[in-house]
């Protein structure tokens, strides 16, 4: 199980290979990749910055990975989140889940993303030329996280 933040670009090929390398039982791998889009409702974006809470971010990500492993009986989980300045089209977050059956791998990756967007101390700022705007938390993300409550 791996959960970390990094300032350098995420290499999804490397992360996929590392995830696969350790598998003994799994027949299914689901990956999620979140990308910087080059526009939003305000117009054209020139990259984003991701601020985070060093220490708490890593702990929260690791706890999330552990919860996903236990809840969905995953064989492996990797969560890599980029922080700092990120260019358009680059990867913000990469999540990989491996499980014996595909339903568990899909559910695990969806769960991690929904809870990550609710609980992990990361904040996104979008850049527009000289100015920049903090991204507002979305109510749809709150709804997505609440569906996992039981």
């Amino acid at each position: 199980m791996v959960a970390r933040v990094q300032e350098t670009p995420i290499n999804s090929d490397y992360e996929t290979a590392e995830l696969r390398r350790l598998l003994k039982l799994s027949g299914a791998i689901v990956t999620f990749c979140g990308l910087v889009r080059d526009f939003n409702h305000l117009g054209k974006i020139e990259g984003i910055s991701l601020e985070h809470y060093p220490g708490m971010t890593e702990k929260t990500l690791l706890r999330l990975a552990q919860q996903a492993v236990k809840r969905f009986e995953l064989e492996q989980v990797r969560i890599i989140h980029r922080v700092g300045r990120i260019d358009n089209a680059e990867t913000i977050v990469w999540v990989g889940c491996a499980a014996v059956h595909r339903q568990a791998a899909f559910a695990g990756a969806a769960y991690i993303m929904d809870i990550l967007k609710q609980d992990v101390p990361l904040w996104k700022k979008e850049h527009y030329g000289e100015s920049s705007v903090w991204v507002e938390a979305k109510s749809t993300d709150k709804d997505a996280a609440s569906r996992w409550q039981k």
């Binding site: 601020e51 809470y53 708490m56 989140h81 609980d119 990361l122 904040w123 996104k124 903090w134």
Partner: protein, 81 residues
């Protein structure tokens, strides 16, 4: 001592990334907030955002009672992923 950290909009509005406060017995997060608000308008503005509160990396409410050496953080709803 209590360490106070601020992130994102709360950091920008309070103009504070990190600071220290003296610890006193039965000190709550609400006490920390009152003490900071007395230091300047920027803190009143920052707390008017109703930021989330973490103590030693765990989300807590403003009633949470602190211990010597605790790290308290104020930040807006998260927007990662």
């Amino acid at each position: 001592m209590i360490t106070v950290k601020c992130f994102a909009q709360v950091r920008e509005i309070s103009q504070t990334e990190e600071m220290s406060l003296s610890f006193h017995q039965n000190m709550s997060i609400a006490d920390v907030q009152r003490q900071l608000c007395a230091q300047g308008e920027q803190w009143q503005k920052a707390f008017s955002l109703s930021p989330l509160i973490a103590c030693n990396h765990i989300i807590v409410s403003e009633n949470h009672v602190l211990n010597e050496g605790d790290e308290v953080a104020f930040f807006p709803p998260v927007t990662g992923g």
